[in-house]
């Protein structure tokens, strides 16, 4: 009997040791990733990096041969990312929040269930499919790769995230908020706009920030819709670059390895900041962000 007890304790110890071991082993590659980004990326980030557009391959080659830092920066990528994000936000935020409210208000009904399942499908849709669908519908019909197409591609990937976080946030609000508003004689629209929305503000903001950080990391749909461009471009119907597109371009051009790391480090630090801010705002909203 005593040996059985000892056996159980032994098993328990082995199990805990195993858990710690596995946890440590799996965190190692990520620590290596961050170390590499800091080591190879940060030293190339200077003022020029944010104020100049991306260098041409020839400039990069000459700089490498002379042993100097590659001239140029990623301003075109930053502007393009912001531009496409703005388009995507304008398209998705109102639509996503309204749909989320509808799903919450009509939960359990058939049509709402259908929409919810559709949302789940849209949520998990591979980004390459978003890319080629936007390519066929927008790029082909406008005969040009464009910022607009990139923005639409981003908005298709953002919309389901915003819908879901809106619905999850509203579900956490106490039911008496709405009921007391209606009991005081408020109109349905008024109650939603003036009572529910302010109360849900933090949760909605968290959802939007998270989906923005995901959209910043999107690469594939942008490659087939926005294409990339070495200049800053404010024309909505012309190709533009984004930070991820620049990473991909630098990766595919010889001699630009240092730019790859610098851009990656910068993009990753932005995404980390956005996530941390979102987490801080969302701490009181302990809902499950499914895409975290």
């Amino acid at each position: 009997m005593i040996s059985f007890q000892k056996f159980r304790i032994y098993i328990n110890k082995c199990f805990i040791a195993l858990i710690c071991l596995f946890s440590f082993v799996v965190l190692l590659p990520f620590l290596m990733l961050i170390a590499r980004l800091v080591k190879s990326g940060l030293k190339y980030i200077c003022l020029d990096f944010f104020t100049q557009t991306s260098p041409s391959p020839v400039d990069a080659m000459l700089a490498n041969l002379a042993g100097e830092a590659i001239p140029g920066g990623i301003l075109n990528g930053i502007c393009g990312s912001l531009y496409m994000l703005t388009i995507a936000l304008v398209l998705t935020v109102p639509l996503g929040i309204l749909t989320g409210i509808y799903l919450y208000e009509n939960r359990g009904k058939k049509f709402a269930n259908l929409i919810q399942y559709l949302n789940a499908v849209c949520y998990g849709m591979p980004s390459i499919i978003i890319g080629i669908v936007v390519y066929v519908s927008v790029v082909k019909s406008f005969h040009s790769y464009s910022v607009l197409a990139g923005g639409i591609a981003l908005s298709i990937s953002m919309l389901p995230k915003i819908i879901r976080t809106t619905r999850e946030t509203l579900k956490l609000l106490p039911a008496y908020l709405k009921e007391s508003g209606l009991a005081l004689g408020g109109s349905y629209t008024g109650v939603i706009l003036k009572i529910i929305m302010p109360a849900a503000k933090g949760g909605l903001l968290t959802g939007i920030l998270i989906s923005v950080s995901r959209a910043l990391g999107e690469t594939v749909p942008l490659i087939v819709t926005a294409l990339g461009c070495s200049m800053i471009n404010w024309n909505i119907n012309a190709p533009a670059s984004s930070m991820t597109l620049l990473i991909w371009d630098f990766f595919n051009t010889p001699n630009m390895v240092s730019m790859v790391w610098a851009t990656s480090a910068f993009l990753f630090s932005i995404i980390i900041c956005l996530n941390l801010i979102a987490k801080r705002i969302g701490r009181q909203w302990k809902f499950i962000l499914y895409h975290e």
């Binding site: 596995f22 499919i129 991820t244």
Partner: protein
């Protein structure tokens, strides 16, 4: 009323996507036949051979292997944060760290894998000079570990303390509590987290394109180079003529159906857990 109209946007969007995929893929099916398309293992557009089996195999192989690799790591990490060290500072820090890692853009992970991990793989003779299905699988597993872990933590941490304390009072060890109380309680949530992670792996494009080697022949094993549904669309998209374009859409339709089924399954499981 406005609310209702706004939902139509999503409805039309999904209907539009499905319609586009179907209408673009129709010439391909008319030309080659659906079952020949899925069943044939030769992709050779020059000879008019458009079989998707190599890519389908590549996708299913990488995705399932990545999930299998991911399971022990993510589960132990989730137990570490959500159970063993729950409430301590280290758990809180790690939780934040994992949540942030879950947002790593896949292009950064892929490029890091190319520069830092590929030499390792090459030295260990995994794949062809570090390219291949197994290296891609390992990177994909790395991609979904934080994603799955951060979801599982919420489910593991939500196991009622009274339940666990009751078991401890009866003399159970930590291992027995986790095995008999925590895991069964959170089972549906954990499964749905893995289903969502699987959906993400199936559709992942850029990591796979960087490291899998992009060859159109039928892979002979996990050390061989290959291609997945997503990466073949991405690779051949720009050079495609009209018919090949249509076949790429047929592949996209196939990928869409697979991921849709996986995601609906995840949603179905989650419905029981939350709401």
């Amino acid at each position: 009323m406005t609310l209702f109209v706004s939902t139509l946007a999503l409805l039309f969007l999904m209907a539009g996507i499905l319609y586009l995929l179907l209408s673009q893929a129709r010439p391909a099916f008319e030309h080659f036949g659906f079952f020949r398309f899925i069943g044939s293992s030769e992709w050779n557009p020059e000879n008019g051979q458009y079989g998707a089996l190599p890519f389908l195999t590549g996708t299913l192989l990488t995705a399932s292997l990545a999930l299998i690799i991911c399971i022990p790591f993510s589960l132990s990490l989730a137990l570490f944060v959500g159970d063993l060290y729950k409430g301590r500072k280290i758990a809180f820090r790690l939780n934040t760290f994992i949540d942030v890692l879950a947002g790593t853009p896949s292009v950064i992970l892929g490029i890091w894998g190319y520069y830092s991990l590929r030499p390792f793989f090459a030295a260990l003779h995994i794949g062809h000079q570090g390219y291949g299905i197994l290296p891609a699988t390992i990177l994909l597993a790395l991609m979904i570990v934080p994603y799955a872990t951060s979801m599982i933590i919420t489910f593991i941490a939500a196991v009622p303390t009274q339940l666990k304390e009751g078991a401890y009072c009866l003399g159970a060890t930590r291992f027995e509590v986790i095995r008999n109380i925590s895991i069964p309680f959170a089972k549906k949530g954990i499964m749905s987290a893995y289903a969502l992670a699987l959906g993400r792996v199936l559709g992942e494009t850029i990591i796979v394109t960087i490291i899998i080697g992009n060859s159109n022949h039928f892979p002979s094993g996990i050390n061989d180079i290959g291609n997945t549904l997503a990466s073949v669309i991405f690779n051949q998209f720009e050079t495609a003529d009209a018919l090949k374009f249509s076949f790429l859409f047929a592949i996209a339709l196939l990928l869409f159906l697979i991921t849709a089924i996986v995601n609906l399954f995840a949603r179905y499981l989650l419905r029981r857990v939350v709401s």
